[in-house]
Symmetry: C2
Subunit: 308 residues, 2 copies
């Protein structure tokens, strides 16, 4: 089934307690479409870059079936740049620098050939931009997944709430779920969020895994304990890309299949953490992915004997 | 199989962002033996209290099969008292007050009838006290489980290392695993700790679940997302009590059975979080426990279809 993804395609500069990197390719839509490309043969990238963005990288994405009819390349302008530094726990980070550049006045355009897409991934961006993508779809897609962050809750809550009301799945982290609802308990927060519009909620907890809620059920996907977490940047986007890529591939949006998709997303995200930038995510084999998924199966596998 | 537990029997006063309680019964060995009592008909409590400790509570414990031949009651002295305040995340806390009282010169005595015990739980205490219990056992028990905390790493690392070298299972939290080894990666930390003596390591992550390691395998047990976490005090001890109680009951210390024991411990701990003090833990039915364990089964249950 057809998939479109909107989000940043950008440069990052990252510092962790264990290493640092100069400008590398990053951006939510980069990770989303690359992760999804292992599950769908074709996707549509909706984003904007400056003329400083490497054309070889775009060509590589195209070779992976990531169509770029919706990618605007602005001559004489610079791509979005983000720089951040991770704390020792690798779960939290400070932004050192943000240069919006081409993103400042980004007006997304969904290409004609992508307007019938059934799976839509709205990567973290200004909710106005996210809404514009929804508004351009002539028919309601089968599944719209929204990623966002506390920044938009702080400065554009009304607009964000309007987008949340229109999507099927919301993905946020645990602190954001608490901020969005004023509830400390994630169970209560989930109940409130599911009344705001989405049918499903995914709470991402980084190295502590992810929770999937619908109105009646909850599923927990662990994160794989890794020998080395080099750089978690893009892990959440990779998760989203693996998640929606698997759903689009199987074209099944039941809770049962969403659970599988959350495991797939978690497995894909674990690869992204193993290197700076999308490097590791771009070198995977099907065999490696299957092997990694099997590790998730084994990690939580137990049989129980109830108390007599 | 016979079980002994050493640890504090004490009073706690607890404040959380959502409530507070005056002095309630607490203490590691209290939670350990109460949790274990759902799985073993008999256990031996090794601890010390002052004459201020309620005899009705001790009688209740005795009625649950918790023998007190190793419980010293010091006339004219006061029981150990701890007071703490939880942060908003409910995963970290500050100590407001610690009054050692009877604990200051506690010399544990293993009663004759308990010296053949095959399952030994060393609750969090001065490592010298923990070592004294091991030394009093004429024959090496089948399984010795050690709980400890960063406090002892800070002030008595050599003595703690000597105890760690003698036990089969170590239970600590993620920050303590990092402190003990100087490794940020929990996988690497586990590898180092398993070279220090224990055959198994359990890393407790509070609301984020628990990891069980041996030299070759890793298992992850989730924590159940709760509607309300009232007070996590004693949850780690309850976990330990459920864990060793189940192992003693089944008398099987394979990795396969340890996985079950970790789930059982997690299920028991989830009850403790639902009220201040050991109240909730003392009112459980077998049916409630089975129902709770089933929730853990459901929480991580998925079937996967690998990538084609």
């Amino acid at each position: 089934m057809s998939l479109i993804a909107v989000g940043t395609v950008a440069f990052d500069a990252i510092e962790t307690p264990f290493g640092k990197t100069d400008k590398v390719v990053g951006g939510a839509a980069t990770y989303i479409t690359l992760a999804a490309s292992y599950f769908v043969k074709h996707s549509e990238l909706i984003s904007v870059v400056g003329d400083d963005f490497p054309s070889a990288f775009l060509a590589d994405m195209k070779a992976r079936g990531i169509a770029q009819g919706g990618l605007q390349i602005k001559e004489g302008e610079k791509s979005f740049f983000w720089s951040g530094k991770y704390h020792y726990d690798m779960n939290s980070r400070d932004t050192l620098d943000t240069q919006l550049n081409v993103l400042a006045d980004f007006q997304p355009v969904v290409p004609e050939e992508a307007k019938g897409a059934e799976y839509v991934m709205l990567g973290n961006l200004d909710p106005t931009v996210q809404m514009s993508v929804i508004d351009q779809m002539p028919k309601r897609p089968k599944l719209v997944v929204l990623d966002t962050m506390n920044f938009w809750m702080d400065i554009a809550m009304d607009k964000l709430a309007a987008v949340i009301a229109k999507v099927d799945v919301l993905t946020i982290n645990d602190e954001e779920a608490r901020q969005l609802t004023g509830e400390h308990s994630l169970v209560k927060a989930a109940q409130k969020i599911l009344k705001m519009g989405p049918r499903y909620l995914i709470i991402k907890k980084g190295e502590h895994g992810a929770l999937l809620f619908d109105e009646e059920q909850v599923f927990f996907a662990p994160a794989l304990p890794l020998e080395d977490v080099v750089d978690p940047t893009g892990a959440g986007d990779t998760f989203a890309g693996g998640f929606i890529g698997y759903l689009a591939h199987t074209d099944d949006i039941s809770f049962q299949n969403m659970k599988r998709a959350v495991i797939i997303g978690s497995a894909m995200a674990s690869f992204t953490c193993e290197a700076f930038g999308p490097e590791r995510l771009m070198s995977l084999t099907t065999n490696e992915i299957d092997h990694r998924i099997q590790k998730f199966v084994d990690l939580v596998d137990f049989d129980i004997i109830l108390v007599e």
